[in-house]
C-alpha cells in the first residue's frame, strides 16, 4: 500500500454532522424534513454555534426535531414557537434560538405569533417547512394548500368559496418593517438543496450579527399525504407549488446584503 492510497482512504468526504443525532427516523419515505434537518445541522456546525443553538420545535411532523439535532431543544405549543424563541433570546441573548415550524403551525394557528415576532424584528430565526398539507394528522387542508388540491378535508379539492385562498407567507411578512431577511427556497433537486442551505446559513448569520428577524420558507414534498410516489411528488412540487410560491428573496435589508457579499459569505 502506498502512502498516497492511505491518505485517500483517510479522507472523509461526507459524514454525519456533529449537530445531527443518529436517531430512529420517524418520517415517511420521500419526506423533505430529513433534508432540512441535515441542512440545519450542517449550517450549525459550519458556523460553530452548536453549543449556543436552541431548536424550538412546533406541533406536527416537526414535533420530534430536537431528537434529531444534537443541541438544546424544546417543545412549544401549536403555533407558539416564535413566542417561545422570543423569550429565550431576550433572556439569554448569547443563545441562537430558531423555530422549526410547518405550514399548519406557522400559517394557521400561529399567525399572530409569527407576525408579531416579525413586527418586533425579534433577533431569532424561523425555518418554515411548507408542504401545503397537514402531515402529522393525516393530510387535511393547510393554509398553504393549493386551489383545487385534494386533501382529506377538501374532498373535491380546495375551493375558494368554501375554504379561501392559500397564504403566501414570505410575501405577507415582507411587508413588515421588522424582518431583516426573508427567503423562499425548495429542496426538490440537488441545486435547490444547495441554495436552500445558503439561505438557511444566511438566516443564522443574520441572527449572529444581531440584525433581526430571519425566516426561510422551504418548499418540501409530502408524498404520502399527496398520494404520490416520492419522485412524482418532486415533479408535482415543481409544477404546482413553484408557480404559487415563487422562490427567491423577499426581504434583504442592507446590512444583510452586506453580510452576504462580505467575507465568509453564505
Amino acid at each position: 500500500m502506498t502512502k498516497l492510497e492511505t491518505s485517500e482512504l483517510d479522507t472523509v468526504l461526507y459524514r454525519r454532522p456533529e449537530s445531527l443525532e443518529d436517531y430512529h427516523l420517524h418520517f415517511c419515505p420521500g419526506c423533505g424534513h430529513g433534508i432540512v434537518h441535515r441542512l440545519i445541522a450542517e449550517v450549525v456546525d459550519e458556523l460553530n454555534i452548536r453549543e449556543r443553538a436552541v431548536c424550538v420545535a412546533s406541533i406536527g411532523c416537526s414535533v420530534n426535531v430536537y431528537h434529531y439535532l444534537n443541541f438544546d431543544g424544546l417543545e412549544s405549543a401549536h403555533g407558539r414557537a416564535p413566542a417561545v424563541a422570543t423569550a429565550i433570546k431576550r433572556c439569554r441573548p448569547h443563545l441562537i434560538p430558531f423555530t422549526y415550524q410547518g405550514d399548519g403551525d406557522l400559517a394557521a394557528i400561529g399567525t399572530a405569533e409569527i407576525v408579531h415576532a416579525c413586527a418586533r424584528g425579534e433577533n431569532i430565526t424561523t425555518i418554515f417547512v411548507n408542504n401545503a398539507i397537514y402531515g402529522m394528522t393525516g393530510g387535511q387542508m393547510a393554509p398553504t394548500t393549493l386551489i383545487g388540491m385534494y386533501s382529506t378535508s377538501t374532498p373535491g379539492g380546495r375551493k375558494p368559496p368554501l375554504s379561501g385562498y392559500p397564504i403566501r407567507v414570505c410575501e405577507m411578512l415582507s411587508t413588515l418593517d421588522g424582518p431583516a431577511y426573508i427567503a423562499r427556497v425548495s429542496i426538490h433537486n440537488p441545486a435547490t438543496v444547495k441554495k436552500a442551505k445558503q439561505a438557511i446559513k444566511l438566516a443564522f448569520r443574520t441572527q449572529l450579527a444581531g440584525l433581526g428577524m430571519s425566516l426561510v420558507e422551504v418548499l418540501s414534498p409530502c408524498p404520502v399525504n399527496w398520494r404520490l410516489e416520492p419522485v412524482e411528488a418532486l415533479k408535482w412540487l415543481t409544477e404546482n407549488m413553484l408557480p404559487q410560491y415563487p422562490l427567491g428573496e423577499f426581504k434583504v435589508i442592507e446590512a444583510v446584503a452586506a453580510l452576504k457579499k462580505g467575507a465568509g459569505g453564505a
Binding site: H26, R50, E51, R52, A53, V54, V56, A57, V63, N64, Y66, H67, L69, N70, F71, D72, G73, L74, E75, S76, A77, R80, A83, V84, A85, T86, A87, I88, R90, C91, R92, H94, L95, A112, E113, V115, H116
Partner: protein
C-alpha cells in the same frame, strides 16, 4: 417597627415579583390588573431585567414558558378572560415541569363580564384548568401585604417543585390601597441544571411534554402525581380566627374573607360565637384542617364571589351531617359584611334538619 408604604394591591404584586428575583415579565393589557403591566414596564428595565408587552395572553404565557425553560424566574399577570387563554400554556408548563408565576386578578364573568372583582375562576384555577391531568399551586392573598408576600412565595414554590404557581387575587384586592411593609429582596436563586442554556460542556437538554409512544407516557404523568401528592402533604396553608369557641364558621378566601372578617366581628359583638376559616392555598386545599374542625362544629357558611365553587371543596371536607350554606355575590359585585351577618343570623335561627 418596619416602615409601611401605602400602595395598591397590583403594585404590591409587581414589587413582590421584583423582590423575589423575577427576571422576566410578559403581559397583555386587561383590566383590573393593568397597573402590574405598567409598573413592570418601568421597574423591570430599571433593574436590568426583561419586560415585554405581548400580542396576546397566548404569547405571554408561551414567553413565560420560553423564559422559564432558560432557567429564568418568569411571570405574567392577567385577569379572567386572559387567564382562559393561558390555560393551554399552563398545561404545557405543567407537562414540561416548568416553574413560573401567573397572577390572575379575577373579574366578573363568564364571557366578557365586567371589570369588577369576582372569584368565578376558582374551579378553572384549582382543578387543572387546561387539558390533561395536572394541578397547579394556587395562593389566595387577602390583603395588599399578602399580594406582595404571596407573589414572592409563588416564585419560591414554583422553583421548589418545578410547577406553575397561580396567585389568585381579585379586582377588589388589585385596586385596594393599604399600608404594606417592603420585604427584603431574594438574593440567591436556585441553580437549574435542566435549563436550556446551550449544550456547552454537557449533553443536550430537552424540555418537552411529549412521548411518541403512548406506553412511555404514563410513567411521566405518574411522576407528576407524586409531585402533587408531595405538595398536598407539605404546602397546605390556611388561617383560622376565633375557631376555639365557634359554633358557626365562615369559610372564605381573598377579598370575600375581608368582608367575612368584619361580619365575624359584628356577630361576636352581638354575642354570636362565629369563627373564620380562610384557605390560603386553594390547591392544595386544606381539607384535613377543615375536616378536623367539622368534628365539633356543625354549621359552616361559605362566603364567596361566585355562584358557588369554593363551597364544593368545603363540602368535600365535611361529613354528610354538617350544614354548609352559601352567601355570595357574583358578576363583579362585592359581598358586604352586612349580607354575611344576615346569612349568619338566618342560619342560626333555623333548626338543623337532620
Amino acid at each position: 417597627m418596619p416602615k409601611k408604604t401605602l400602595m395598591a394591591g397590583n403594585i404590591a404584586i409587581a414589587e413582590g415579583a421584583i423582590l423575589a428575583g423575577c427576571q422576566a415579565y410578559f403581559g397583555y393589557p386587561i383590566t383590573p390588573q393593568n397597573e402590574i403591566l405598567e409598573h413592570m414596564s418601568k421597574r423591570m428595565p430599571e433593574e436590568g431585567r426583561v419586560f415585554m408587552q405581548t400580542e396576546s395572553e397566548l404569547a405571554a404565557i408561551n414567553m413565560v414558558y420560553g423564559a422559564a425553560a432558560t432557567g429564568y424566574r418568569a411571570m405574567t399577570s392577567t385577569s379572567s378572560p386572559g387567564f382562559s387563554l393561558e390555560q393551554e400554556g399552563i398545561s404545557y408548563m405543567s407537562g414540561a415541569e416548568l416553574p413560573g408565576v401567573i397572577v390572575n386578578v379575577m373579574r366578573g364573568g363568564p364571557g366578557l363580564g365586567n371589570i369588577g372583582g369576582a372569584q368565578g375562576d376558582y374551579f378553572q384555577s384549582t382543578k387543572g384548568g387546561g387539558h390533561g391531568d395536572y394541578r397547579i399551586i394556587n395562593l389566595a392573598p387577602a390583603s395588599v401585604q399578602e399580594m406582595m408576600d404571596f407573589t414572592m412565595l409563588a416564585f419560591e414554590l414554583a422553583d421548589k417543585y418545578r410547577i406553575p404557581v397561580v396567585v389568585l387575587a381579585d379586582g377588589f384586592l388589585g385596586q385596594a390601597m393599604e399600608p404594606a411593609v417592603m420585604r427584603e429582596p431574594v438574593t440567591e436563586l436556585p441553580g437549574k441544571a435542566w435549563a436550556i442554556t446551550g449544550a456547552q460542556g454537557r449533553s443536550k437538554n430537552i424540555i418537552n411534554s411529549f412521548e411518541m409512544e403512548p406506553v412511555n407516557f404514563p410513567s411521566r404523568v405518574k411522576l407528576l402525581l407524586q409531585k402533587f401528592d408531595k405538595i398536598r402533604r407539605n404546602e397546605v396553608r390556611y388561617e383560622g380566627l376565633n375557631l376555639d369557641d365557634a359554633t358557626l364558621v365562615i369559610v372564605a378566601y381573598g377579598s370575600a374573607s375581608r368582608s367575612a372578617l368584619t361580619a365575624m366581628k359584628m356577630a361576636r359583638q352581638e354575642g354570636i360565637p362565629v369563627g373564620l376559616f380562610r384557605p390560603i392555598t386553594l390547591f392544595p386545599f386544606p381539607y384535613e384542617p377543615l375536616s378536623n374542625l367539622a368534628q365539633r362544629v356543625n354549621d359552616f357558611l361559605v362566603a364567596e364571589l361566585s355562584l358557588g365553587q369554593l363551597i364544593e371543596d368545603v363540602k368535600l371536607a365535611m361529613g354528610v351531617d354538617k350544614r354548609v350554606e352559601l352567601v355570595n355575590q357574583y358578576g363583579g359585585v362585592p359581598l358586604s359584611a352586612e349580607e354575611i351577618l344576615e346569612a349568619i343570623k338566618k342560619m342560626i335561627k333555623q333548626p338543623i334538619g337532620r
